[in-house]
Amino acid sequence: MSNEAILEVRGLKKFYDIEQGWFKDNIQVKAVDDISFHVNKGETFGIVGESGCGKSTTGRTILRLDEPTEGQILFEGSDINLLSYEKMRRLRRKMQMVFQDPYASLNPKKTIKQILTEPLRVHQLYSKKERIEKAIEILEIVGLSSYHLERYPHEFSGGQRQRIGIAKAVILNPELIVADEPVSALDVSVQSQVINLLLQLQDKFNLTYIFISHDLGVVRHITDRVAVMYLGKIVELAETEQLFTEPMHPYTKALISAVPINHPDEKKERIVLSGDVPSPANPPNGCTFHPRCASCMDICKREKPPVISFDDGHTVACHLYTN
């Protein structure tokens, strides 16, 4: 793993307008609100958070499947927001996505051969015959075989479909894969197979992953660095082991403590957060976490916390650490 950044996100914002009717002002939902991070070549960068925290929107805006409202996304040094539609399409060869739901992300009317050769055809790579050879090769890498080529997605189980989804992303030999909850829809025993596959592919093709998940156990296993998001903001970012052993932000602490125990005899000091995640359309003033925070101070209600960086790259957005 090198320290060369393959992707840099600076001040990314994505706001959605919700129409309220003819005479009312639109409500603005700040799905992603001013986040910055970088991803190094060959690493696995995790984004965790609860539903509605903006982790999937982040993943989609990085690939420009959604246009960002503001901010820069630098892929290998160049800002992808400035690229034309055509150039962006060509660049997507290097940035691919694996989706959460293997049932919804494969076209039911296409055979596996069509699904796998389509990205190659779109990017005008290889001849027709070579494309099929490529498809067979990648099928074997992900643990399926050539006799699956003529089958349709409904003939496969969830785990096999996710393998096909991964094959579809890897067949273009990309640099970066954004995996949005790739194992959440799978059974426990199949989940570990797919995680192993992702790890093997990373080794083999020197891939960089952005791994979006709400499952902290999987994130701890697979990622090198993790960003924790809450209501559109990154509240903490650190190396994985450090984040899990010495979390700093009160939200991260609560999140980690909420993970169910591994063994019935394990005693766990649990920080139970009161209430729900507030609506992103109407986030609280100051620190967005303050209504649920156990160490809330006066300043938290008024001022947004600054992002505080430590020497080892650990950053946290919390007033507790301002001094």
């Binding site: 096999q160 197979q193 169910p260 591994n262």
Partner: protein, 339 residues
């Protein structure tokens, strides 16, 4: 009967050799192939397994909610406090449902009716099963909503489900299930659709309610962490049958069946970071491709010829029962025979 220790004496639910069949256009499938278990008063029994193992169908059979006429109980019986409920008429079953047995479903989003207020929906079991007046019903509902930790209960009672968040809706579902103080609560993946921090809240709430009411709980989940948090005993199901039945500590300390062992070993927490996870090879078999001998034989690392040809019985071991030929020599007793 004393409150703490005596709990184990009273059998609430007994399921004997339950077999459920579904008639489909593709022929008959049998998602549950002979399941025996008991739930005692004050006890939480967990059923763990992957999708398609029959855990949800088992719970629907207990509730008498199998989709009729396609699904039916082919053999076996279900007893609630010694009374046979598996072949009751719909009218009689209705008297039990919501009163003696209640159920919490996985999807709090879809299991509440969007066009009725919370209060209207919660008053239904009370109107069905009690003789309370409207005022008393309302008072009781508000009391129950407060008990499950819903703030502003007096206002929420007149709101619609879409105005509540997922965690709140699941709390409403729990209060709905608890209104008539059921003897048995069935929770089918109650926290799967929720975020971790909300999951922690709901599990705490369920544990609290169960211990306060001394009821029996049947918790169905695929998450071993949830099992470790809440259950006293655990049944591991695979392909429509019980492969292991034990208390929760034995399952985590000394799982005997290769499938239980594999499930536990594949948890990311127990593996070295960034290394390959232990994984059970292959996929869960579809109901029509279950092998002739042991259902797990196609994926088992210890498979022998006997496993491929003969279906193993549930063997009684020291701390658990286990459906595997590996332990044939260690046992004195066979819990159930192969039919």
């Amino acid at each position: 009967m004393n409150k703490e220790g005596g709990a184990l004496n009273n059998k609430i639910l007994e399921v004997k050799d339950l077999q459920v069949r579904f008639n489909t256009s593709m022929g008959t499938v049998q998602p549950v192939r002979g399941v025996d278990f008991q739930v005692h008063e004050g006890e939480t029994l967990g059923i763990v397994g992957e999708s398609g193992c029959g855990k949800s169908v088992t719970s629907l059979a207990v509730m008498g909610l199998l989709p009729s006429p396609a699904g039916y109980i082919a053999e076996g019986e279900i007893l609630l406090e010694g009374k046979r409920i598996s072949h009751l008429k719909e009218r009689e079953m209705r008297k039990l449902r919501g009163n003696d047995i209640a159920m919490i479903f996985q999807e709090p989003m879809t299991s509440l009716n969007p066009v009725f207020t919370i209060g209207e929906q919660l008053s239904e079991p009370l109107r069905q099963h009690t003789e309370l007046s409207k005022k008393e019903i309302r008072r009781k509902i508000i009391e129950m909503l407060k008990l499950v930790g819903i703030p502003r209960a007096e206002e929420i009672i007149d709101e619609y489900p879409h105005q509540l968040s997922g965690g709140m809706r699941q709390r409403v579902m729990i209060s709905l299930a608890m209104l008539c103080k059921p003897k048995l609560l069935i929770a089918d993946e109650p926290t799967t659709a929720l975020d971790v921090t909300i999951q922690a809240q709901i599990l705490d709430l369920m544990k609290k309610i169960k211990s306060e009411n001394q009821m029996a709980m049947l918790l169905i989940t695929h998450d071993l962490g949830v099992i470790a948090e809440t259950c006293d005993r655990v049944i591991v199901m695979y392909a429509g049958e019980i492969v292991e039945n034990t208390d929760v500590r034995t399952l985590f300390n000394e799982p005997k069946h290769p499938y239980s062992q594999g499930l536990l070993a594949s948890l990311p927490k127990l593996n070295e970071r960034k290394q390959n996870l232990y994984s059970i090879k292959g996929n869960v078999p579809r109901p029509d491709e279950i092998p002739k001998g042991c259902a797990f034989s196609t994926r088992c690392p210890h498979v022998s010829d006997k496993c491929r040809n003969e279906r193993p019985p549930l063997l009684k071991l020291n701390h658990q029962s286990c459906r595997c030929w590996l332990y044939e020599g260690e046992t004195q007793e066979v819990m159930s025979h192969v039919k």
